[in-house]
Subunit: 316 residues, 2 copies
């Protein structure tokens, strides 16, 4: 497809022309929208996973796909400092999908719905060439919604969990050759995005801005910084990764730091906040917000690290 971000930017401008609407608290260009339909406001988001674009049928089972698609969509609600309460599922089902596979897909969605406490309340079934799962999720902010805008110079940058494991897991699936004992954990991290409800609840009270990591830490933090009109400096030695991340990356011919910072599909939460024990209890401090725009990475001596900035490579 054409430049997705340019099109989103065009959409944001296009729909802002409609004029101010006091019911729209957060609009196009954030992880999710927040609308005032009563009290509390409703957080709404939608995510689509398309066969041969976001997943290959030979690399993930229908049940795993359902779980993954659902949690990835919920992740956008957590990134707004919200908790999900309900979801709609729109499925495009190829004729070759058996009833067994259909039910497995639904069981994966149902497991994720239970794990995230977002009840599946409806949906839509359609025929179509490629298996597609579109998940719309509704939720409510725990406190006030946390947008991408709001980070201020001096605030620290935190990330939940570890980075890069999903990208390593996908690379392992595609390479299909390394020792499963050492690598199953990474594959699981790609197949099962993390449940960040506790972090979402915690950051809702203290974060100045937040975003979830779908396209890679550098790219998503870049979106947050752009929305906040600030920049960030990350410390290369603070980036949290899984045990054996470096050795598995090297076996795969991947750069460990680049994979952690640009690999994508982590579905961890990046948030910014004034330094505090509470913030530190929710994630790892990886850097600091700066008045200077752009996202930089520095080594232990403060020297710039030349991280090739590229986003996650999709299948097509």
């Amino acid at each position: 497809m054409h430049d997705e971000f340019a099109r989103i930017e065009w959409l944001r401008a296009r729909f802002e022309l409609h004029g101010a609407d006091e019911r729209l608290l957060v609009g196009i260009g954030d992880d999710a929208a927040v609308i005032d339909l009563g009290k509390p406001p409703v957080i709404v988001t939608v995510d689509t996973q398309v066969e041969d674009v976001h997943f290959r049928r030979d690399l993930i089972s229908c049940r795993e796909l359902g779980y993954r698609a659902f949690v990835a969509a919920v992740s956008d609600v957590w990134a707004m400092g919200g908790l999900p309460s309900a979801a709609l599922i729109a499925l495009t089902l190829p004729a070759r999908l058996s009833d067994h596979e259909f039910r497995e897909l639904i069981e994966g969605l149902a497991e994720a719905a239970e794990s995230t406490r977002a009840r599946i309340v409806g949906g839509n079934l359609s025929g179509g060439e490629l298996l597609t799962v579109t998940t719309s999720v509704f939720g409510a902010p725990v406190h006030e919604p946390v947008a991408r805008k709001g980070a201020e110079p001096g605030h620290l940058v935190y990330v939940t969990g570890t980075l890069g494991a999903a990208a390593v897991g996908l690379a392992l699936l595609e390479a299909d050759g390394l020792d499963p004992e050492q690598t199953n954990h990474f594959v699981e991290r790609w197949k099962r995005p993390p449940l960040n409800d506790r972090a979402a609840t915690g950051l809702a009270k203290i974060a100045s801005a937040a975003v979830d990591v779908s396209d890679g830490c550098l790219q998503d933090l870049g979106h947050l910084c752009k929305a906040s009109l600030v920049g960030a400096t990350l410390r290369a030695d603070s980036i949290p990764t899984e045990n054996s991340h470096d050795s598995v990356c090297e076996a795969l011919g991947l750069d460990p730091l680049l994979t952690a910072l640009a690999g994508g599909e982590d579905y961890e939460l990046i948030f910014t906040a004034p330094a505090s024990n509470e913030a530190a209890s929710l994630g790892t401090t990886i850097g600091e917000i700066t008045a200077e725009t752009g996202v930089r990475v520095v080594d232990t001596h403060g020297a710039l690290v030349d991280v090739q900035r590229k986003g996650f490579r999709h299948f097509s």
Copy 2:
């Protein structure tokens, strides 16, 4: 695909197993779900239009497609006696779709959003082989939500607007040969589903049950009757159709009554209510709810008309 209705029935049963949830006021198997996230309750629905399943690119422009997909999704909110307030758009865009076509698609969606007063608050862009528009709509009931369940014997059956025109319009587009002067109106009816906000507002106060006509009057009224544990008798001579419906049907080799009753994609509203002037002011009386289950069609003498019951034929 496999039997869509069997799968929906399986889904309904599957997700009812989770047990009662007092926040879920209407669940799977209706036009839309109604969830209690605060006051007022929120009506949520999702609809997908897939290239070569629901539309052919050579029969509808991108702008028309956007308008049509959006209004068709909103129709489910109106059928619940609700008015829409916001929508999320998930688009799957083939690489061959130009930026101009993308913007035309968005302008069609935007026109429909303005016409239906459902603000587009967010969405998702994805690559993919086939152009797909998935519209999630949120709204609020005007009064109490109107479900498919609730029709009682003796209530009359009403329908807004006319039936069969969209099916005739699509047949005309596919035949591509009749006099445009006489037929443009039908094509417009397929391309531009009706705006039923006024009817939705009116029926919200008086209807015992309602459904929108997507698969055809007989099939959708059948769903309403099944949910209400009743049946219906329709009077063939009361079915409202467009001027020249019969002659255009005959020129196309279509049965006029069958086309009106089973053609589908009308996106008109069928509702049931005790006889009243108010109900009659919103639509045409086409029959009566009966204790005997099943939907029957009778002529002016009360004799059964053998209408071949078949739903709308999709492209594939």
